[in-house]
Amino acid sequence: MAPHAARTAAAVLLALAALAVSCAPSTSPNSPAADRGTGTLRVWLFREVNNRPKEEVVADAVDAFVRDHRGVRVEVDYIPVATRAQKLKAAFNDPRSAPDLVEYGNTDTAGYVRDGGLADVTAELAARPAADAAALASVTVDGKLYGTPLFTGVRALYYRTDVLRDLGLAPPRTLAELAAAARRIHRERPRLYGIAVGGAYTYGALPFVWAHGGDVARRTGRTWRAAIDDPKSRAGVREWTALFGDDNCPASRCAAMGGNDTVQAFASGRAAMAIAGDFNRAAVDGGPAKGRYAVVPLPGLEPGSIAPAFAGGNNIGVLRSSSHRTLAVGLMRSLTSRRTQDRLFDAMGFLPASADARRAAARRQPFAAPFVRTLDAGTVAVPATPGWSAIDAGQVLPTMFQEIVSGRKDVDEATATAARRMDEAFRR
């Protein structure tokens, strides 16, 4: 029996080896097949908390587009925001089931371009889209355009008018006043966080860094270097992390919180202040804070100054694998036209991507005014490089803030570690 067994084992091994040679991990080239003038265009947009008004605006724009183009059908799917990264990666990996147009967050642009997902539409966009320079920068990688801005998102300081009035406090004019007011509120109303902050709330924390003149990273030529351990950045990190503690927002509760948790704390009446976006208005109005709050720009270091906010927002881009490229670009233009952006603002409160459209919007809707002022004062974007996507996904900054507020590391040590991890990601 033994020789037989050995021979069989050899045959099995040989078969396995043949299998091994034939099966390398798969890649998808993502090259466009054709540019068809008819057929079905598939569109993926984000599903918002209250999506109905968005659907109506989009349906009108799509109807107008379909009327102008014979033999074209448009299918719009609303995908959940929480799982968008997986869905988009799956679309990149399998072009046959991928849509032609996608909505994407502006911090993802560089990563999606490197992953071969988005089409370069510079040539088609000779007539500039309705967007200002900052919004256009968020669709630009190495001088090429990879989509058009849909709306701009920016954060400001929400505060409870009733609580501040009862305590005789004015809205804070500097970050130092903000911290003092937060402590005073928590002392007098122990059930309330003075200001709700979160260890995982990167875009709430970064304005503190930028207000001090610091930054997460700086660009020299084509390479990025972490700057979060610069003295100015550290001063900002120190000022933000000082808000965590039993005198305002206890670390045991607040270290784990992210942006949505702080908004939720404010909306449910557990916080007197919070940093939240124009796009969070519906969530706040859905809780007991409704009608008892106001919004001002987040102050900077000097009275009257505004802390630079993160330039957020979403774009719409054409997938490289699309077989209806010309049609897709056309639909992208009509979905991001000035008219659609205006209607999206009226329906959803999303700020238009161009400055003059925003100012007109603020006149129609006073709620938008503090956000427009924040945008006009200047915003900062995160590094437009694929490395940033890795830093974001690797939770580098939330880990850094959490290490500090939980007392594991001091500011110098935690920022140094984070800078090292960021530099590794930039080099990759």
């Binding site: 099966c23 991990p25 990149f92 490197r114 071969g116 206890p250 045991s252 509760r253 996904a393 690797g394």
Partner: protein, 300 residues
Amino acid sequence: MNRNTRPWTPWLYLAPALALLGGLLLYPVYQLGLVSVLDYTQAQVSGGVPTSFRGLANYREVFGDPQFRRALVATLGFAAACVLATLATGCAAAVLLTRVRALPRLALMLAALGAWATPAVTGSTVWLFLFDPDTGPVDRALTALGLTGFDGHSWTYDRWSAFALVLLEVVWCSFPFVMVTVYAGIRAVPGEVLEAAALDGASAWRTWRHVTAPMLRPVLAVVTLQSVIWDFKVFTQIYVMTNGGGIAGQNLTLNVYAYQKAFASSQYSLGSAIGVVMLLVLLAVTLVHLRLLRRRGEEI
């Protein structure tokens, strides 16, 4: 008829099973190993960047990461604690089942089966709610009992307290399997043996330790192995209850860490390297376990 004339006959019969195993087990493991020695990220999958061979560089990178070493140690310790707690709870509940009347036995069975049938995500969310610092009944009950220190106490802030909370959930949803299996095993123990022990005046503990447990050894061996494998691979509970690995990653286990590398950061080759390490650890634990059993003259 000579048995040796058709040496390939057994292989013929085994072929369907081997083909199935090859397709569903060997091939994925082979791909895992292959990807773990390549430079394979989303840019290679869809970005047209060529795939290159990195040799053991991915493994060096993984082992050079202090977070990985911490997660490895935490996973081993956490899995060991979970296995011990699950086995102890499951065996105790099984013994209890044999000693109560029909109605309480039915109630205990139903409660345990309910826990077993609950999806891990749902169970974790419910446990998180029970221990919520703001609205959770546990903090409220402790405060009402006069332990005012627990007013608004966060159970997931401290590393060990967070691990303990997850451990409770893991035990809660996995002890029923142990309980049911061991209960079936105990039922199969001949009544005369237990009667003899009782006549000899053995206490409950002594009966368990020297009569029931030795007869249950094959059953215990299987549930131990199952628990080791399940608990080493714990993902959902950690991911849901500590929000993806806890404050500053303090509650990361290997599976969650691999998920973050492979899928959140799209570094598929690093994720695969971690997967291979997990596979080897589990294989080693399993082989040692089987060897120990065999040395004691038992076969599964």
